[in-house]
Symmetry: C2
Subunit: 220 residues, 2 copies
C-alpha cells in the first residue's frame, strides 16, 4: 500500500487565505458517496484525514462479529488523528459515509512541519486529541455499567445535562442498541419497561425525561 489511491487528487497549495495553513502545504482531496466505507478497521493511517463536508459514523467490529457503534461525526473534523502517531498506526474503527462526503488528506511529514511552524495548529491538535481521549474514557465508563437500564440512564442523563429534559436522538433503535453494546430486542424491552414505569416518554426519536429521580436510581 505504498502508492496513493489514484482517486486522491493532489494539490500543491492552498489558496484559502482563511485556513491559516502555509501556501505551500501539500494535500489531496477525495470524495465519497453515501454508504461507502471510507476507512476500514485495521487499515493503515499514515496521514491526517479531515472530514471537510458530509457526515460519517464510526463503528468497531469485534472478534465475535458484533458491531459496536462509536460515534457520529459531522464535518469539519479530523478523523482519528491520534492514531497517526501511534506505533501501530491503524484505524481503530470502520468509517462509513452517512451522506456524500469529502476528505482532506495531509501527509504525516506535512503535519509535522505544520506542528513546528504553527503553534496554534499544534495546540488545536493536542486539544482535539485530548478531547477524543476523554470521549473514549466516557465510552468506557458507559460500558462498565453492567445493566442495560443503567447504560440507558447514564446516556439519557448526559443528554439531559446538555439539551434539557426533551431531546432528539440521532440514531435509530438498531444503532442505539449497537451504541450500548446490547442486543436490539433487549434494548427495546428495557425502553418499554422504562416507559411503562413512567420514567421516560418516547415518541419516535424524541425522548423526554419524566422522572429524573427514578432515572438516577437505575444507576445504583
Amino acid at each position: 500500500m505504498k502508492s496513493i489511491d489514484p482517486e486522491w487528487k493532489s494539490y500543491g497549495s492552498i489558496d484559502d487565505g482563511e485556513s491559516g495553513f502555509p501556501a505551500d502545504l501539500k494535500y489531496s482531496i477525495k470524495p465519497y458517496r453515501k454508504n461507502e466505507i471510507m476507512f476500514r478497521q485495521g487499515s493503515i493511517c499514515d496521514a491526517l484525514y479531515i472530514l471537510t463536508s458530509g457526515s460519517v459514523k464510526t463503528e468497531m467490529i469485534t472478534e465475535t462479529g458484533n458491531i459496536m457503534g462509536i460515534e457520529l461525526i459531522k464535518a469539519p473534523r479530523p478523523l482519528a488523528p491520534a492514531f497517526l502517531f501511534s506505533d501501530n498506526n491503524r484505524f481503530p474503527v470502520d468509517v462509513t459515509a452517512l451522506e456524500d462526503c469529502e476528505i482532506l488528506r495531509i501527509p504525516k511529514e506535512e503535519v509535522m512541519r505544520l506542528m513546528a511552524i504553527q503553534p496554534d495548529f499544534m495546540q488545536q491538535f493536542l486539544k482535539h486529541n485530548a478531547n477524543r481521549a476523554e470521549f473514549l474514557a466516557n465510552r468506557l465508563q458507559l460500558l462498565s455499567i453492567k445493566t442495560i437500564k443503567g447504560r440507558i440512564a447514564h446516556f439519557l442523563l448526559e443528554q439531559m445535562a446538555e439539551y434539557g429534559k426533551t431531546f432528539t436522538i440521532n440514531r435509530n433503535r438498531t444503532e442505539l442498541a449497537e451504541f450500548f453494546g446490547v442486543a436490539r430486542p433487549s434494548l427495546a424491552r428495557s425502553l418499554s419497561e422504562m416507559v411503562e414505569d413512567n420514567i421516560i416518554k418516547i415518541n419516535k426519536k424524541q425522548f423526554t425525561i419524566i422522572d429524573e429521580r427514578k432515572l438516577k436510581d437505575l444507576l445504583l
Copy 2:
C-alpha cells in the same frame, strides 16, 4: 484548588544532563506511600505528571459504584498526559500507589514551552498519547464482547501473542474481575469451566493455553 499542594517540593532547574530538558525547566516532586490514592477521578489535571519511581494502578469508579480496573503502570511513565490539554481537564481515573512512588510535576506552561523548543519532546508526547488512545480503543473492544468467556479469550489470546502459551498475570482474581468488568464469582465460574473443558490450565497466577482452537471458538 489554585494553590499547589505544599508537599510538592519545587526546583528551579534540572541538573541531569541526560534528560535533554532545558536547564531552567521548572518542576516539582512529590513522594507517595504504598496504597495512597495519588489522584482522584474527576480532580483537576493542570500539569504533566510523570511517575518517576514505583508503580501504580488506575481504576474507574462508575456511577453504579462498580470498580473497573484500567491498567497497571510502572515508572517511568507519564500519567494521563492527554487530559492536560482537554477542555474538561480532569483525571478520568483514580490513581493508587501499589508501592512507594515519586511523581514529577511539570506545569502546563512549561510543557508548552518544551513542545516549542524540543521537537523530540513533542514527538514523544504525541506518540505516547497516540498509544494511550490505542490502548483505550482496545479496552473498548474487550468490553464490547458480551460474554465473560469471550472477554477472557480475547485477553488470553492477546497475552499469548506477546508472551507465548504460558504466562503470569499480575492481577489477583478480584482485580481480574474488575478488569473484565464482571462480578468476581462469575469470573471464577467461567474460569473453572474453561479449565474443566481443557481449554486452559491455571496454577495461581500462571495461565497456560492448552487448546487455542477452542479458545478462539469462544469469540464466535
